[in-house]
């Protein structure tokens, strides 16, 4: 095992996504609706599962964005859209300035090497009948990055990078433990020197003592090769540890996105607050304290027929009329903080008046106010240098509230 010793953390470069030149991937209003077919001979489309319904975010070059949320929130679908394992229903994905959402299979081919994926389950994502050498070497052969006689040398190098014995290239996956298999998956993803790695729950299938090894390895390869990560996980603590920037998804939409310090210490969306309060915390309990838990009633609604307006309103303790009528826009309220809630604010300090009225141009019941304008272009990735903070939004909105 090559576990590097604890070393002073060098701050990841280029996490400021506001600098456009530094952005590797921009996702704009991305949607994926899966058709639901009726039974019978004529399999008509009767409904759509709105798995991802308008998400926008940016991943800086060499940085990492965490995508968290519960099962069914669309985080994995988002990852598979970006790797083009699924074709998007709508929206744009600008990878180095090029929209990859509409590219054909053939046009996509050269870009496949730039965007790679690490899968959750190291047992089912490796072909049991191929040797490690074949598994890691196949991308090299397909994309012809090295001559055939050099493939093996490169495979050995890659195995060494991920902390495996380079002489084990002719072994089969079943000869490795779970943590080692995940290392093989990482070696395969690194083979083409991608610029973006989509890691879909890379450690959740591993034992706790092994998780830390793999997380450290991912951090090492990120620093060494300057790879950007889209880190998808349900484990809030692992995501916080790995990603300077975190987006929270609920039922196909991003509800809050911010730098990790803000998101974890001052969440402004009620769902983020409830989610964080539900994580059992060893240290808190060890000292004898217990965080106040915000109970959420019921289950996540079906994405086939999501609630109108705000999708979280059916389980939200603050929901008002407006929440059913108007979809809350993802409003920027800090230099690196966006939140999609009509009553955004830290727990206990939310006002009675919605804070989104000024951009929506409606009154506090969600009805449009004549004369007021709805801000255009509410779905933008990244952050803008000029924005109104929450207080300004609140003040401006108050003027419209009763009209």
């Amino acid at each position: 095992m090559t576990e590097t010793q604890a070393q002073p953390h060098t701050n990841l470069r280029g996490t400021g996504a506001d600098n456009k030149g530094d952005t590797l991937l921009e996702v704009i209003d991305l949607k994926k609706h899966f058709p639901v077919k009726s039974s019978g001979i004529i399999r008509r489309t009767v409904a759509h599962v709105q798995a991802v319904d308008g998400v926008s975010f940016a991943v800086p070059r060499g940085g990492s964005l965490g995508l968290v949320g519960e099962s069914g929130c669309g985080k994995s679908t988002t990852g598979r859209l970006i790797t083009r394992l699924y074709d998007p229903t709508a929206g744009r994905m600008m990878f180095e300035g090029q929209d990859i959402a509409a590219l054909s299979r053939r046009q996509m081919l050269p870009l496949r090497s730039e965007i790679q994926m690490i899968f959750q389950d190291p047992y089912s994502s490796l072909n049991p009948r191929h040797t490690v050498g074949t598994i890691v070497g196949t991308p090299l052969r397909v994309h012809k990055v090295v001559p055939d006689d050099k493939v093996l040398d490169r495979v050995r190098e890659l195995l060494e990078v991920v902390g495996l014995n380079p002489e084990h290239y002719n072994r089969y996956p079943n000869e490795f433990s779970g943590g080692q298999r995940q290392r093989i998956g990482i070696a395969r993803a690194l083979a083409l020197q991608p610029k973006l790695l989509v890691a879909d729950e890379p450690v959740s299938a591993l034992d706790v003592s092994i998780q830390a090894q793999v997380v450290n390895l991912l951090q090492d390869v990120q620093r060494e090769f300057n790879i950007a990560f889209l880190f998808i996980a349900h484990d809030l603590a692992v995501v916080r540890h790995f990603c300077p920037e975190v987006a929270v998804m609920y039922l196909g939409k991003i509800v809050e996105i911010a730098d990790r310090e803000t998101l974890y210490s001052r969440p402004h969306h009620p769902y983020t607050q409830a989610l964080l309060s539900a994580v059992p915390d060893v240290k808190q309990a060890a000292i004898g304290g217990r965080r106040e838990r915000i109970p959420l009633e019921g289950d996540v609604p079906s994405p086939v027929n999501p609630p109108s307006g705000c999708r979280f309103r059916t389980r939200c303790w603050m929901a008002q009329d407006i929440c059913a009528k108007q979809v809350p826009p993802l409003l920027q309220i800090g230099p690196r903080h966006k939140v999609a809630c009509h009553f955004a604010g830290e727990r206990g300090s939310t006002g009675a008046v919605p804070v989104t009225l000024d951009v929506l141009g409606c009154n506090s019941h969600g009805d449009p106010v004549p004369g007021a304008t709805r801000a255009a272009d509410l779905e933008t990735p990244g952050y803008s240098p000029d924005f109104d903070d929450l207080e300004t939004h609140r003040r401006k909105s108050a003027e419209l509230a009763d009209r």
């Binding site: 095992m1 576990e3 604890a6 070393q7 953390h9 519960e70 099962s71 433990s177 943590g179 080692q180 034992d207 706790v208 003592s209 092994i210 998780q211 830390a212 090894q213 997380v215 450290n216 951090q219 349900h234 809030l236 603590a237 692992v238 916080r240 540890h241 990790r260 974890y264 409830a274 989610l275 964080l276 309060s277 539900a278 994580v279 059992p280 915390d281 060893v282 240290k283 808190q284 309990a285 060890a286 000292i287 004898g288 217990r290 838990r293 109970p295 959420l296 019921g298 289950d299 996540v300």
Partner: protein, 389 residues
């Protein structure tokens, strides 16, 4: 729904027979006693020593958390409590008594009376643990009617009550649903309803929330705690998540390679652990409040094979503190489960001369510098812990 109706059916069980003739069992008597339990499976490759020399007790009203990685023997040992291992392919040694009844070697008829009635189990994956061909109501009713001589309609009423109690909305109509019509959290609730339908005195929850999302996990853990308060049952919660242990358990048993390596009251074990494996568990998991610049400190290597466990201390091949132990003790001799320096009922297996000091001076400053100064809290805690049996 009152608690009497749950307790009403539970009055007729035979009194536990421990503690001499005529002794009335008290709340302090352990309900489950596992004594020097070994579970071994003969295989083509040799004998798998899944559990070795494991002893613990659980009282009613107490929650015991068992932590360990996959293959540490935590599930195998609790399946033995219900005698769920195939006797033909399993070698069991030692003794397990449930309310005074010996389980090891008990015949099927005895076990059938025990299973579901005295001891019930909640499994990790409710989708595979529930039968897909039968409605949730039919499965709960069946579990109830095995132990209670009641009509189908009475049993169904009871099933609806139970579903209602565990928080299934519209229980009256959902009782006729099939498991696949339930969401993950609801399936787990249905399974809890099924396991509690006979008011068991001991509930074994094997990774009850691992397959669930955190908000649902929080709901299920709260539900288990409420039900425990209501029925005064004993709970064994098996998990790999120290966070769940921290919130749920009164006492913890840390297992490694089939053995208990540390055991004690939860707060104490989390603040003043004295076994390097426990330290590793604590240091390798990031938490939602930790310093993000700090690197995780993983446990090097992989869990050992149980076909051929390491000699001496089972953790010695992965232990970074081995050089501190004089001689080859770690490799040659299995450390005894000895009382720890801090706290009553706190025991650990380790050859380190003073593991408490090692933790305080070397481990804690690295994994939680902000807690390093608060070591006294652990000392004080030790004095406050309730007196065990």
């Amino acid at each position: 729904m009152t608690s009497e109706s749950f307790l009403g059916t539970s009055g007729s069980h035979p009194a536990p027979q421990q503690a001499g003739p005529g002794a009335v069992p008290t709340a302090e008597d352990p309900f489950l006693v596992v004594d020097h339990l070994s579970v071994r499976f003969p295989t083509h490759d040799g004998l798998v020593q899944a559990v070795s020399d494991l002893s613990y007790t659980v009282r009613r009203g107490q929650t015991l958390g068992i932590v360990g990685e996959s293959g540490s023997g935590k599930s195998v040992s609790s399946m033995a409590v219900l005698s769920l291992h195939n006797p033909k392919s399993t070698r069991l040694e030692g003794s397990i008594t449930v309310g005074g009844q010996e389980v090891v070697g008990a015949d099927d008829a005895t076990m059938r009376k025990l299973r579901g009635k005295e001891v019930a189990m909640i499994f990790q994956d409710p989708l595979t643990a529930l039968h897909p061909f039968y409605t949730v109501g039919q499965q709960i009713t069946e579990a109830y009617r095995i132990h209670a001589d009641v009509s189908k309609s009475t049993a169904k009423k009871r099933a609806i009550e139970m579903l209602d109690r565990v928080g299934i909305p519209q229980a009256r109509s959902r009782v006729d649903d099939y498991p696949h019509q339930f969401s993950g959290g609801m399936r787990q609730r249905a399974m809890i309803a099924m396991s509690l339908v006979n008011d068991p005195k001991l509930l074994i929850a094997d990774e009850p929330t691992t397959a669930l999302d955190v908000t649902v996990q929080a709901q299920i853990l709260d539900l288990l705690q409420d039900l425990q308060r209501e029925f005064n049952s004993a709970i064994i919660i098996i998990t790999h998540d120290l966070g769940v242990i921290a919130e749920m358990a009164d006492d913890v048993l840390v297992m490694y390679a089939g053995r208990a390596v540390e055991t004690g009251p939860t707060k104490l074990l989390l603040t003043a652990p004295e076994m390097p494996y426990t330290w590793g568990l604590l240091s390798s998991v990031p938490d939602v409040a930790a310093d993000t610049d700090a690197r995780l400190i993983p446990i090097p290597g992989n869990p050992p094979s149980l076909l051929n466990p390491p000699s001496g201390c089972p953790f010695n091949p992965r232990c970074v503190y081995k050089p501190k132990v004089p001689g080859e003790l770690c490799v040659t001799t299995l450390p005894e489960l000895l009382p720890a320096k801090v706290g009553r009922d706190h025991r650990r297996r380790c050859h380190l001369p003073d593991p408490h000091e090692t933790y305080r001076l070397e481990v804690l400053p690295e994994i939680a510098p902000e807690l390093a100064g608060q070591e006294l809290a652990g000392q004080e805690l030790a004095g406050q812990e309730k007196v065990g049996p």
